[in-house]
Symmetry: C2
Subunit: 232 residues, 2 copies
């Protein structure tokens, strides 16, 4: 059977599994009945059910490890990351559009983090800003610290959906951060970047949402400026 044939049967099979999860109030990690159970229940072939499980696994709605029973999946920024990567590769979305979305979302998480961060989260965010400051020209370390810094702020917002959205930007940051760093040609420009990260970390530690908003906004204004310099 090819994917096209019986597409709507596969869609119904996908929906049956999603209904099973919802109706039984299952949580992440709970086991699901096998393909055979659903195939019999719906009166469809094992091949249809196998395709449905494949689609559910691709969307991370179920987790199918080697030879194990399928389990309810944890949401995962990688699904949105794959969409974003594809959209950029095929010119459906520009980097400038993505940067506007990132700024919008991350200004909000910075404010929420300033309101909701625990002491441990504040300490981690400050430590990651310092890690960037001491990374020098080790681009791998600068990038890893920068990605971890934005992720830590998202987590300190205590909003799981913001964490997922910001996580979905991480793969492209591994390309964008080194590129942006290259446009910062003088030591003075690099020092400025570090100062801005420190100021943002301090605003969050100080529980000052307005200072966090201003810091994150100015951080992105500079980053977008650097991005446009690259593209021109």
């Amino acid at each position: 059977m090819t994917i096209g044939e019986g597409g709507s049967l596969v869609q119904q099979a996908v929906q049956a599994v999603r209904d099973h999860i919802r109706d039984n109030d299952l949580k992440v990690g709970d086991t699901l009945p096998g393909e055979g159970h659903f195939a019999e229940l719906m009166g469809v072939s094992r091949a249809v059910m196998r395709e449905a499980f494949g689609a559910l696994a691709a969307l991370k709605l179920i987790d199918v490890a080697n030879g194990r029973r399928a389990r309810v999946g944890a949401i995962d920024g990688s699904v949105m990351a794959a969409s974003l990567d594809h959209a950029v590769a095929t010119s459906q979305v520009s980097m400038t559009e993505i940067w506007d979305v990132r700024r919008t979302v991350e200004v909000r998480t910075a404010m929420l983090a300033a309101e909701h961060r625990t002491d441990q989260e504040a300490a981690q965010i400050l430590a990651l800003a310092e890690a960037m400051a001491t990374a020098g020209d080790d681009m791998a370390l600068v990038t890893a610290s920068d990605v971890a810094f934005h992720d830590a702020i998202a987590r300190a917002s205590h909003n799981a959906l913001f964490v997922q959205i910001i996580g979905s930007f991480a793969p492209m940051m591994h390309v964008a951060v080194p590129a942006a760093w290259k446009t910062r040609t003088t030591d003075e420009e690099k020092a400025e970047t570090i100062v801005r990260h420190r100021a943002l970390a301090k605003a969050i530690a100080d529980r000052d949402p307005e200072a966090a908003r201003i810091s994150m906004t100015s951080h992105f204004d500079r980053a977008i400026d650097a991005l446009l310099r690259q593209e021109s």
Copy 2:
């Protein structure tokens, strides 16, 4: 072959198709070589390639219509919508968290729409606000107009990623809008909702981003208030 077995082979096969799209600078609707081509190229079985095509189709990275050659897929809010629906059904994300993300994103699209809307877009947004006003207690029409209103504002922002994100919220709006409407018990409260939609449409038509920001913020403050009333 089950989904679990050879998972990493399938992942490599998925990546090979994604690389083909990127390296050949393909655009939405362009045709792809068949499964057989990739299977031969990679030295993997047709079964592995079929699973990879299934995963790519589930993620909407390729579009496989009945019996046709696979084509490059258009990004589609339905992938993120499925993630959101699953995350809510399994208590990974709360409605309150989603509403904060929606407010954050839609306040920005309202401002961008005020800056970038064409005359035709402004006229459409105003018309949808009027459609809501004249829908009375026809909940299907109120809901359809409300979803179309937010979608039209997203499109007028001229940022394709915001359009996708806001589109991914549409399925849950079909549940949330009637529920919120029910909490508006008096005619006065319903009239207020309509007044706020009109004010937002007018701010966008007037090219006034600050008024659009204030209108959308107050719209969401009221909507979140109604949501919390439902949940309590």
